[in-house]
Symmetry: C2
Subunit: 294 residues, 2 copies
Amino acid sequence: MHLEQGKTVIDSAISQQQLCLVVGHCQVKYKGRAASKLSQGDRLLVIKPDGTFLVHQNSKMAAINYQGPGAIVSTEIRKADEDADVAKVEKTRKTETEGAKNHGPQKDSMLLVVKAERKKPQEEVIEVAFDSLQSAQNFSLQDDESLKLFGSERQLADLLEQDLGLIEKGMRPLQTESHFNKGAIDILAQDKDGRLVAIELKRRTAGLDAVTQLVRYVKQLSHRKDAKATPDANAQNKANRVRGILCAPEITPNALTMLEQEGLEYFKLDYEISNPSAKIKGLQKKQKMLEEFR
Amino acid sequence: MHLEQGKTVIDSAISQQQLCLVVGHCQVKYKGRAASKLSQGDRLLVIKPDGTFLVHQNSKMAAINYQGPGAIVSTEIRKADEDADVAKVEKTRKTETEGAKNHGPQKDSMLLVVKAERKKPQEEVIEVAFDSLQSAQNFSLQDDESLKLFGSERQLADLLEQDLGLIEKGMRPLQTESHFNKGAIDILAQDKDGRLVAIELKRRTAGLDAVTQLVRYVKQLSHRKDAKATPDANAQNKANRVRGILCAPEITPNALTMLEQEGLEYFKLDYEISNPSAKIKGLQKKQKMLEEFR
DNA sequence: CAATCGATGTCGATC
DNA sequence: GATCGACGTCGATTG
């Protein structure tokens, strides 16, 4: 496919708000938020009507280069040797590796350069320079539907809050304000002795980050409580210390160690995901085995 | 395009390890680490040779449904009414909206179901059921090149380590072991007074997580030092406390507050990204302004 | 707009 | 394979 044809197709997609798919041999440059990159090969370029700009390789899930919604896309036909970097790199690679397959640009050949720019949070530009095209096509996609997801952390937390007895008898939810200036706690509760309990729920293996997060919440709550209560005996405060409970299907060993050093508790969470909503199957307190106790 | 043709194309892509692009009207279901359902709409399906499976809508960067590398892809032609959900939803939508354009499946119409399965870490299945196709094509992508990224955190950390004087006179690197059981520290150094310094570098705005990470490192180092040094006076330990320095271009207010509460230090990092490598332009200690000091 | 956090995060490095 | 942290993370929620 000719580069000029490709340009026409892409321009049409931009003006008509269509999905554009381009496959070809190209080099990509990015300069912006922080990093700048360079590479060459066969790629898939996806341009969505909202400006989303994705450059994919033939493996991996993530796009190798991208620009988010809102990017301004433009095209240009340019002489290959106007771009010194491209030419230089190309020459080097050609000498190094293969001279047979004519994939790279030749002398005086043209490039179709597709550019995606964004200025909003930071000046960002991504340039895709095609030297040959396998395909360039546009499509009109009608799709207003949004995804319905089951088994999110939020859903699990709501479920657990409705049945805190799973954790311990006498535990009840406490929905004063669940949001603090720093971060939000999953569930705030009170146990049968009236002690404040911060509950953090994770839908997958909990790591150190989950523990530090819980530590932060517990600390905040403690300060809060101190401020509220009479600022007298420290011993009493200790006895009435805020409890922190981490609920997760698994926990990494280091995280468990840190958790216990901090005096917090881990509950193993067993759940399953069914259609409209997930379901909590069990919750069981776990501690280090006695064998490990020295 | 006929569904049967589409099936042939996709099957061919799978057996020949090609990139496959499919555009059509479909419904998507997923069950695995979570579960989800996406009602009907026009979407782009990308199948890569390594099994990567991406379902894109016409906006947003991220795929709405996906499966990572290693997924096993298969196709199947199926009667539409075998899938109750699909049939029901479709019927509703048709009545509600349009009857003219024949986008949806008709009575007794067929579906092209593309399935991506994975069993390894967890059983996961994603099913895309097309009732009509706009396009289905395959491409051979040769691409051995990997990305070169400049300005990564690692690169910046290496640069900074080579010139710790930027932070403070007399600061020098200390490359004992930078890895601990929990996490790794970016730079370990010693100041002119011989105090241990943990330096955490972030290439972008530092948030609470960055601070908690640094807190963790400093605590580890303190324990370590206690173990090494004579376990005597606590006062001395305090005077010799391990310092923690956070270097980042920006820091959120809450993070700065927490940092100072923990007795750690923030340095504003100024850097630029040039071609082969980034460059550190400046580093300046910042504290809360006196006006804020109450 | 900034700040924060979840995610079917994904990806790479290291143990 | 498990663990851990970075990421141009993305995307959503909330003040």
